[in-house]
Symmetry: C3
Subunit: 327 residues, 3 copies
């Protein structure tokens, strides 16, 4: 095991560590809900005081970028943002690995990476003498999004063993779906992957170890709705739609008819079921406006939990498991 | 009234609140003039400690952007800057309102917005559960610029009731002129709007309530110069000049002859009159170099006051009116 | 002498000040190696608390930009980054001097500038009422790079009087070479400037005063290798290569044959000799991979020293020479 822990996908975390992260995230939820005056008092205990974080987002991002920034600042870190455009010009042909070696020599402890290439963060973590956090790599993984989604489910339901979660949309191309499916099964939840054929994997390989929940793949959303505890809608990228329905594209009217979550489908949900979305959502595609005013709509909770979960991850990677901080 | 106060234009502030802001700005002027060592001692009282601010400037800006950044940092806020280019790509078709909802769910308390669209900040403030500050919206308003200008006048003259202020230039297209005229009249000053016909409003509607000062519209700069206490020069955008004098454009030589402030016009000012400019100024257009060395030139004061006024606005919106902090 | 000290090139520093900076940098090396927990304890003594720094990099940079950012944050400064693209649009034709005047009026104390134009920082320092730091200006100078290189040599050898340092590559176009040659000679080291004719100055003018070390200009790398204590490799910009060998360009195969540092040349070095590079390095051009695993390769040390030296420069410019802070 490496001396410095990274978070590249959920496999990097043991079950015990996952549980710790969710409990720590709850502490940060509380701390943040107590507002500004509290930070004042706790300032001398900021867990990342003096720790330097660099955020390198090679794909554009508003919410994940802002969320990591805020998490780092709230923990007292020194934060430097390197923008993708500046980087491409500034590294002057230097390999990505050499840039990472340079940043760790500089004393940067944490590198948060988003990149269109799958496994880019893993490649960098091989040479970076510090903590790498994957903030989304191609269609591969987005572990902090999965953590915040599971944290949201746990805050709603407590233990999620045996709970049924439907993930709806472009499963095949979604790093969110990949990481979340993996995490839900480890926590004992059952997952239904729902979408048109083009968007679904041919089959789903079930790993033998440490996966307790079942996985179903289905194109029939309406049949499963009454049985689910939670629906996770995925963003449908409009460039995937085509009126001519080429391979890899789908018809938008058909998609909306079969998979859009709207008032009629909401009405079939069980009373305590919730709806989630990683954002940004397309009104009129994967959901209509009735979802946004639905009492079980948890988008805002997810966003808030995103900051707390990232604070928990940062604190855990840098400081390890610690006795509950008096908040 | 909304639970969270915003500053969209000067109408959002009562007379009492205006006075409070100017007094608080004076405290911050003093604090800043005392330099770095003082921050040390006061650190535990930073009024925005733990408060997250996001600056979103959809129009480029050096001075307003830097000024807000500095004000936020000096108050101890956690600051995230989202650049317009990144945003346009990153929101992936998400509506501006949905982005704002997301940012407030994340725990962002203050959103500072500059945007080419008039009333954009108001539109966002309808959905953002926090404080919105208008840092300039189209040709509509620029309230913190008006506040810093009035603060500069008050530091010079004390009570500005009955003082005569000439605003010179492209009144019609200037958000600075709109906000400042409004603010000056509320504080009891008389305003002369000066410029070529193309740049002047056809008429000026005088609001009945809480406007004490008079407004004059004139094309004759030279006649009023001896009577003014202050001249506010506006930036003349060169793209508005045309040798063929199309509608909406003016002739530059004629403009310079009739409205440029230069040595001869300075000589006609009363001894204690001052000259201001929101910046950036065009040497050789609205002013010549003699203005820059004029003893009554208050540009540097305005810039310094800009930071203090913005600190006062941020503190007021977040913390309300407070008993004078011992500085 | 100006009331506010700037660092435009090494001539701005006396010999005594140079020595102080290297000693102070060593203190910051130690402080940083002690890690995050230490910052906590020392927080109230952060030497740039309340001091505002603006970084304006008109040329792209990863390592120098990140290094200055980190140095400023670690000293507790308030940091605002203005990106070159935003600036070119935002200053609206304002002269660079007027922008600088505005920033100093705003209370910005330190301006870190990188610019393609030689002497740009000096031009700005004439009007900016604060401290200007040259972070690289055209082919002219890069003083903090020279300081970190000399600091690295001093940490290796102690007093470097009489030590032999070879600088290899495009001497003519390198601001690193210019500043470093100057600095090494002032510290009493002997410098050999090595490269193909196209990359070498016709002659080297030796300044009479305060230059103790000798300078040799040579095209024969192999002959001097056994006698050097340190080799500083420069980055060779690929655009300078041409297969047709135009004036000002060189042949890449010939360059590699005569000047690349590789295993065979490393073997001829004396046992305690070291190799340095300002980065980013081109594997396969000025060095091959054997250099990167060479025990005397000091690139990582240089990078780490870069932060400490910049902390020392910032502290010195703002606070002057101080009795050693208890670390």
């Amino acid at each position: 095991m490496r001396a410095r822990r990274s978070l590249l996908d959920l496999d990097d975390l043991s079950g015990e560590e996952l549980t710790y992260l969710f409990e720590r995230a709850r502490e940060f939820d509380l701390l943040q809900s107590m507002g500004a005056s509290h930070y004042l008092r706790e300032e001398m205990n900021l867990p990342l005081r003096g720790v330097a974080c660099v955020n390198m987002f090679f794909e554009q991002s508003t919410r994940t970028f802002t969320s990591f920034n805020l998490a780092e600042l709230r923990l007292g870190a020194d934060v430097v943002n390197l923008s993708p455009k500046d980087l491409s010009l500034a590294t002057k042909g230097e390999s990505d690995e050499d840039t990472a070696i340079t940043l760790s020599a500089m004393g940067i402890s944490v590198l948060v990476l988003r990149h269109p290439e799958a496994e880019y963060p893993r490649r960098i973590s091989m040479v970076f003498d510090g903590h790498v956090i994957n903030a989304g790599d191609g269609t591969h993984a987005h572990p902090t999004q999965a953590l915040l989604d599971i944290h949201t489910l746990r805050e709603e339901f407590g233990d999620i063993t045996g709970r049924n979660v439907a993930i709806v949309g472009d499963i095949l191309h979604s790093r969110v779906a990949h990481s979340l499916t993996h995490g839900l099964r480890r926590m004992g939840a059952n997952v239904a992957l729902v979408g048109p054929e083009t968007f679904l994997p041919d089959s789903y390989t079930v790993a033998a170890e440490s996966s307790n929940g079942a996985v179903t793949v289905t194109r029939d959303f309406d049949t499963i709705i009454p049985d689910v505890d939670a629906i996770v809608l995925l963003r449908i990228q409009r460039e995937r739609f085509s009126s001519e329905n080429h391979a890899g594209t789908i018809d938008d009217r058909e998609y909306i008819e079969r998979f859009q979550l709207h008032g009629k489908r909401l009405a079939k949900l069980s009373p305590d079921a919730i709806v989630m979305h990683p954002g940004p959502y397309n009104r009129g595609v994967e959901l209509d406006d009735s979802v946004l005013s639905f009492t079980g709509w948890r988008y805002a909770k997810q966003i808030a939990h995103g900051v707390s979960v990232r604070m928990a991850v940062l604190d855990f990677l840098v400081n390890g498991i610690r006795a509950g901080v008096k908040l």
